[in-house]
């Protein structure tokens, strides 16, 4: 379990959109289980990963997020039955479009994390943070205004 100190220079900002029923609960469980992960990952609660408009992802990058995670229930487990299947399609395309536009695909991720997968949530948080930290600050889409 690695915890990166905040003193060690630049830390990325990761925005995580978590669906209320699975991934947000998974993040709660990670906390309840006292699983440490980098503090630079911050969660925005949405009812369903299907609520996450790709524009929100672009907005996060534009506002200087260095990485974005969209987390939802496992396919087949959506509280709303099918929301995450649409999420999957949207972000399969989005990921490729970002890459095509020159945004490093490592900055963006979709994960299926259930309410019982606290360790998986913590692991996902550590992984994306480590990856984005290695990529450095988002210079691809940051709005310098």
């Amino acid at each position: 379990m690695s915890q990166v100190g905040t003193a060690a220079g630049w830390e990325p900002t990761i925005v995580a959109f978590c669906c209320n029923w699975c991934s947000y609960a998974g993040a709660d469980l990670a906390g309840i289980s006292r699983l440490a992960y980098p503090a630079s990952l911050r969660i925005i609660r949405v009812p369903c990963s299907g609520r996450v408009n790709p524009h929100f992802v672009l907005r996060a990058f534009q506002r200087g997020a260095d990485g974005v995670l969209v987390a939802g229930c496992h396919p087949g487990d959506c509280h709303y039955t099918t929301g995450n299947y649409f999420t999957r399609r949207r972000y399969l395309l989005m990921q490729r479009l970002l890459e095509y536009a020159g945004v490093n695909p490592g900055r963006f991720e979709v994960k299926w994390i259930s309410g019982s997968e606290g360790p998986k949530f913590a692991q996902a948080a550590r992984e994306i943070t480590a990856r984005v930290r290695a990529l450095g600050p988002n210079r691809e889409m940051r709005d310098e205004a």
């Binding site: 947000y24 993040a27 309840i32 925005i44 609520r51 790709p54 997020a65 039955t81 929301g83 019982s116």
Partner: protein, 1129 residues
Amino acid sequence: MRRIGVFVCWCGANIGGKVNVPAVVEAARTFPNVVYAEDNKYTCSEPGQAAIRSKVTELKLDRVVVASCSPRMHELTFQKTVETVGVNPFLFEMANIREHCSWCTPDKAAATEKAIALVRTAVAKAVMNDPLQPFPIPVTPRALVIGGGIAGIQAALDVADTGIETVLVERDPSIGGVMAQLDKTFPTLDCSACILTPKMVDLARHPKVRLMSYAEVEEVKGFIGNFQVKVRRKARYVDLKNCKGCGDCAAVCPVKVPSEYEAGLGPRTAIYRPFPQAVPGAFTIDKAERPPCVRTCPAGVNAQGYVALVSQGKFKEALAVEKRQNPFPSICGRVCNHPCETECNRGQVDVPVSICAIKRFIADTVYADGSEEPVLPASAKDERVAVVGSGPAGLACAHSLALEGYPVTVFEALPKPGGMLRYGIPEYRLPKAVLDREIDQVRQLGVEIQTNAALGKDFSLTDLKARGYAAVFIATGAHKGQSMGVPGEDATGCVDGITFLRDVGLGKPMDLDGRVVVVGGGNTAVDAARSALRLGARDVIILYRRTRAEMPANSWEVDEAVHEGVKLHLLAAPVAVTVRNGRVAGLKCIRMELGEPDASGRRRPVPIAGSEFDLPAEYVVTAVSQSPDTGFADGVLELRRGGIIAANPVTLQTSVPGVFAGGDAVKGPATVVEAIADGNRAANAIGLYLRAEAPEASAAALADQPQTGKPFTIPKDVAKVPRAVMPTLELSRRRRNFTEVELGLDAEAAMAEAARCLNCGICCECRECERACEPKCIDHSMQDETETIEVGSIIVATGFKPMDPVAYGEYGYRRYPDVITSLEFERMCGASGPTSGQILRPSTGKPPHTVLFIQCVGSRDEGKRGHQYCSKTCCMYTAKHAELVMDRVPGATTYVCYMDVRTPGKGYEEFYRRTSEEYGARYIRGRVAKVQPNGDGLRVRVEDTLAGRPLDVQVDLVVLATAMEPQADSMDLARVLKVGYDADGFFTEAHPKLRPVETNTGGIFLAGTCQGPKDIPETVAQASAAAVKAVALLSKDKLLASPIVSYVNETLCAGDFFCQPICPYGAIEEKELAERIAGRPVTRKVASVNTGLCQGCGACTVACRSGAINLKGYTNEQLLAEVDAVCLK
């Protein structure tokens, strides 16, 4: 400007230990729109809530942000708090700085920084929050309980007792569940049935309960208070109302399968009642999908049915079953190519059942003893039908029509009826006497057979019409032998196989002296060859251009031919008939080799250049192919290539209305059973035609019925039994005569052979039950029915299943008969069980002296084979089992191998103490490593971890305390219900402590072991709790629904309805909007949200490019504000 108050919680040290709370408060004060911030030790406590209330009032706060734990924990708490002081609950916002911050961030500075960011984000969202009002939805005052185990029974009774209508859906024929299978219950050792069955009866009699047994929930639509549940009521085939439960039906049922209720330890019949106290008490017929033998038979003859009856010695009943689809069992029992045997599932165990031999046995036996019960034709009808051709197709058709009461005349061109049966199949395979007997039976039904009457020669189709025949069935067969197309075929001594066999059949005197070469590889060739041998040929050779494997003839016929001395000359083809003085002198042949596969999938024979050779012969029989002789068609009937008659494949009607055709005349050369199938089909079609049914209706009536019912799985532990051998005539007695070669099975052999049947269809549809049932409440044609019921609440009580311990190979379950599961043991203890309550070793049927119980089989196992969880009940029931052994088998020794003994329950520890201390059960702490047979018993190796040494224990019986598992299809049901389930497949409760019987889906509650392993008292308590929850919901007229729903900005909505297919609830509807454009009234379509259906997922919002559809509580504005705030460094 907003007036936001921020309250940051220490949560004691939970937050305060990692987050610098005062720093967060300080930062919050600098956020725009924040007019006040403070910290509290425990914001959720009454003083904390009081602080919020007083500050809201004092400072006129219009929004409140609490930074504390997860909103999943306390959002509702604080929403209620602010509501009491006049702030709309949806103007409250929460920052999760505990689960998402202090608990997962060891570094204090980082945690503080993150907490500030999370509070900033919550404030940013709160700024954009709008007040929302829950809206009322009506409630259907009816509850549904899924599952009729003790949990479902208790829940249903509790709900119904409040006067609310309750529907209980149970998928098995009876309610009762696993508890009904138990003998005694711990720790009181009271009889399970004694406490359960009264409740079952109460339920059945309760005026407010509707019991839907043998039914399953297929689909759930709607939402809390308003569910529409589609229930499939499986066909019971027994009228529930009229069945008296007398059991006469089961007494005559010939099919035995393992009883589920007896955990496989005993059999039950296909028509059954799971146990005597079952509720409802009616019987049920268990049908699987059509068995492969029936499915494969072209005529759909119910092979399983007559085989099952033979196994019971019911021969005449078997014959009746046989004759439903096939009027010629003694013929088919001799000459059928029996594809049923090829498909027979028994072939996957050892060898297929000898169905054809059994069929012949039935007919021969019953005909011989004259016990056949005559079938009476239906009342006579007026329309006369002509059948042209008296082969199997024509006679089968005539037989069926005659049974329906139609006067039928059969026209036969040849001197005697039977067609190819008579003139194509030699006597040694099908004695003419056998043939005549079954043709006579057709005659006895009133069918007139006119012989020497050939269509096209002696009469025409027009004549038939003129003579008043309302319909005609043409089944003239394929009697034209094809020539080989080589020079010299017209020489004397060269004849085609059809003609040859016909001459044999007509009894023309023939003396074949010399060598006969039969060209071809089909059944005609083999029949000709074997006949030739019998006619005195010195030498008979079958010349075939491919290899033995490609020969289309029945392989057993080829075997017999070779056995009798016929020689096979393979991979050679004739090039010319050598003619000397106008007589055959031999064949000029060429050798072949196999090339690429052709259209038939067989490898194409290719001549080898220069390999010609001469084959001297006195006779040549060409049996290469045959075709229908349809010269009579005369341009009136449409023909296809090869002269076959064009007929609709379903109705068999030809191009002339009222004229039908079938058999070889339509199919080309095919089998007897296919011809019979066509005859039956034609009779059906003609009946429909004569009753002037619409063509579509008749097509539907005639089409092959789709396969329904549950699939059959071959049991794993079927013992191998050799197949019956058909006795045959000694070889020496086959020369120069046509005596029948196959001699038939005797009754003992036939019954033994019939007992090999696996009963793949379960119910064999012999319909003995129908005959036995006095109130006539059995209906084999019953269909599943679906019904949609409207309920306001659903209680899920689908229970568990015991784990199959076969994965634990070291315990030897299924390999050693004396290793059984705890549920099997439970049945063994039951007074009404398979051993009448005696504890016996399955291998010997004698009481065991030493019994060893292995606990935690599949439970508390981190490996792939089992479950991590504790199944909670096994420690106690194992103690109970040990006591039962020692009570019932005097002097018996018991061992219990355990990991820990867990006894948390009232009286549990005392019970365990008694078992170990008073009864003296020997508890060994350790996992069993191996169970091995040793001498008469089993040797169990276990490490005694307390003593620190391995032990070998010699025992007579091993009982495995298997884990409780969710039902195999629990996840499917979860998806139907849209409730969550955990990694093991148990349904998840809304909150493990505070909402243990609710699910995350409003209106759906959980009871019993579908939520997790638990014992009976706990299950019953949970069931009552779920009932109260349901009643609390259903006793309201209206519910307040969450205002978190989508809404449409109609100005923006372009009406493309991309949102519509995204919505899983069908909540997006079309609405016509009237507007004035340039003074002109116009309308346009916009989306409109049905708030009763919308569940607030918001997936629609993303489909809308212009953002016209938005989600209250999670608007685009709110989420963009959150993104902006959370990204701020």
